[in-house]
Symmetry: C2
Subunit: 135 residues, 2 copies
């Protein structure tokens, strides 16, 4: 289970924004802080706005701000917002569907490892990574 670079960008950006809850931050500020390619970040932020996670204000002194409280947004939600329909691998070998009576030697570790991360994503909120992650 790996995430696209774009998803990482989103998590980083929102993670940082969480550490400055209530402040309006411009794409440029975030770019300077997080070293994410400016234009690409700009578009990503617009997307996150469109998906409802951010609110934006145009014009001078404008920028982006979280639309909900940091304790209210799970990482899973963010991943989903960014990756949309992107499918996660189910079978370790990439089989579309597996008709095995007995799971193969990799099945358990794989599934367990995946669901562990998945569960962490669902229980971890922006507030949880705001303080420790970015300064």
């Amino acid at each position: 289970m790996t995430f696209t670079r774009t998803t990482e960008y989103a998590l980083r950006a929102l993670g940082y924004m969480a550490s400055r809850e209530g402040e309006m931050l411009s794409a440029d500020q975030l770019h300077a802080k997080l070293k994410i390619p400016k234009k690409y970040l700009q578009r990503l932020l617009t997307d996150l706005k469109r998906s409802g996670l951010l609110k934006s204000v145009r014009g001078r002194n404008g920028g982006f701000i979280l639309s909900r409280r940091t304790g209210d947004i799970t990482l899973a939600e963010i991943v989903h917002a960014v990756e949309g329909t992107r499918t996660r691998p189910e079978c370790f070998f990439g089989f579309a569907k597996c008709a095995l009576d007995v799971p193969c030697a990799m099945h358990d570790v794989w599934i367990r490892s995946q669901s562990t991360v998945q569960e962490a994503l669902q229980t971890t909120r922006l507030a949880d990574i705001a303080g420790t992650t970015f300064r």
Copy 2:
């Protein structure tokens, strides 16, 4: 931690070959069985041969055969043979390097999940997936 499609192909192909240890199998047979794009599989098999995991025989009745015993080849070896230098993500957020005093909320789950799979790859051998996986 996810693998490229090519890696999956390699694991499937070798996994199947393991279930027919000692038999010489052509790219065409493997293609028919595993539905991997013919020409792409062909090249992959040649690569696996070049990397030493397979031996090949040209001409009529030719094909590929594992160059070592199925109990002797770890999945980790295969992954490495195919992916070569490809880097695995270390930080969940994709930070090149993290200068945190205290690991963030995702760190542990992430690392643990990764190393679990990694360890399984190192301890699981072709023989272990030969019987159960493909029929």
